[in-house]
Amino acid sequence: MRITLAFIGLISALTLPPWIPLVCIVLLSIRYRAWEAILIGALIDFTWLPSGTAMHSLPLCTLVAIIIVWGLEPLRQQFLLS
């Protein structure tokens, strides 16, 4: 399941609308300590982020992925890993 979600997330980051990789990031982060989620966020930013204004240069997807993965850590620890 983890590999499938990561694969879908990585492919959709390049070809499908942004909400699909976001769903993959959330699903991965809810169930696993998924470093792949951060990779998906970084791939989106490295592929699509333009240079220029400060607002456009902020790697939002990477930051969102990191926040989701680490933000859900207490939940995982409480309900899934114990």
């Binding site: 070809t15 989106i44 699509w48 982020l49 620890q77």
Partner: protein, 274 residues
């Protein structure tokens, strides 16, 4: 005893999982910082690879669509896409005609002619749907003479976007109506600031008293007096201080296969020569 052993292994797994996550976070943050410091070296390398992968995925998708059950579905989708492209082309021609008429009127008072800049044709190598930042990739880069700030046009000559990053063989185009992007434009001869909303949509506020109609062309004076969009809806609320105008992109970005890239327009080039 058994419980102790289980908790020991559980603790070890927990630490190892957290360690991997921490390591991944550190590496990604390091890459992001390296990319910012090096002005996009990491991005450039990733995009070169992505360009190859997306081209391969497109070919695989085309092969699947041409076989078996998907063939009839693909034929209908193709017909639908062709009709949409036809409508978009007609809209584009109408907007272009309006823009050209305005340009002719403006040029009739000027005693010199502006020659168009040379440019190159480049293929679109990525989907415009996938980017959350309103960007897409084209298969031409600095090797082909593309520079940051170059204007990207459709084959008909309307503005699609500008080059935000130029790699060796791949460049990133920031759509004209990318989310949060502000563009100076002219509508019915009035200067206004158009704010991009993403997905080929934008909005602007114009003062009351103008005769703005759906289908009017919006022109960018900073991008060679070329049309950038057409008015899709006018929200003329008398209680509001200004008219809210909703503008749509003339070009259907999904249907774009090739674009024409012209060098950046210098501000002094538009000034009349003496």
């Amino acid at each position: 005893m058994q419980h102790d052993a289980r908790s020991f292994y559980h603790s070890r797994d927990t630490h190892s999982g957290r360690g991997r996550l921490l390591l991944a976070t550190g590496i990604v943050l390091l890459l992001v910082v390296t990319d910012i410091v090096s002005h996009g070296i990491v991005r450039s390398s990733v995009r070169a690879g992505v360009s190859t992968v997306t081209s391969a995925l497109r070919e695989i998708g085309a092969h699947i669509a041409q076989n078996g059950y998907f063939a009839s579905h693909a034929a209908l989708a193709h017909e639908n896409q062709s009709l949409q492209a036809e409508v978009a082309a007609l809209q584009e021609r109408a907007a272009l005609a309006t823009a050209l008429q305005a340009q002719v009127d403006a040029l009739s008072n000027i005693d010199h002619l502006v020659t168009s800049d040379p440019g190159i044709t480049a293929p679109v190598v990525s989907s415009s749907l996938a980017s959350p930042y309103g960007t897409f990739l084209i298969g031409a880069g600095t090797v082909d003479g593309i520079t940051v700030g170059s204007t990207v046009l459709s084959t008909q000559g309307t503005v699609v976007g500008t080059v935000s990053d130029a790699g060796g063989h791949t460049s990133t185009v920031l759509e004209i109506f990318a989310p949060g992007r502000a563009i100076n434009a002219l509508l019915d001869g009035v200067a206004l600031s158009v704010k991009g909303k993403g997905g080929g949509n934008a909005s602007a506020l114009v003062p009351h008293g103008l005769s703005i109609a759906v289908g009017d062309a919006v022109i960018s004076p900073t991008l060679g007096e070329r049309p950038i969009g057409i008015v899709g809806h006018v929200d003329n609320d008398p209680s509001s201080a200004a008219i809210q105008v909703y503008i749509g992109s003339i070009v259907n970005l999904d249907a774009l296969r090739y674009v024409f890239v012209v060098p950046p327009i210098r501000s002094d080039s538009s000034a009349p020569k003496k």
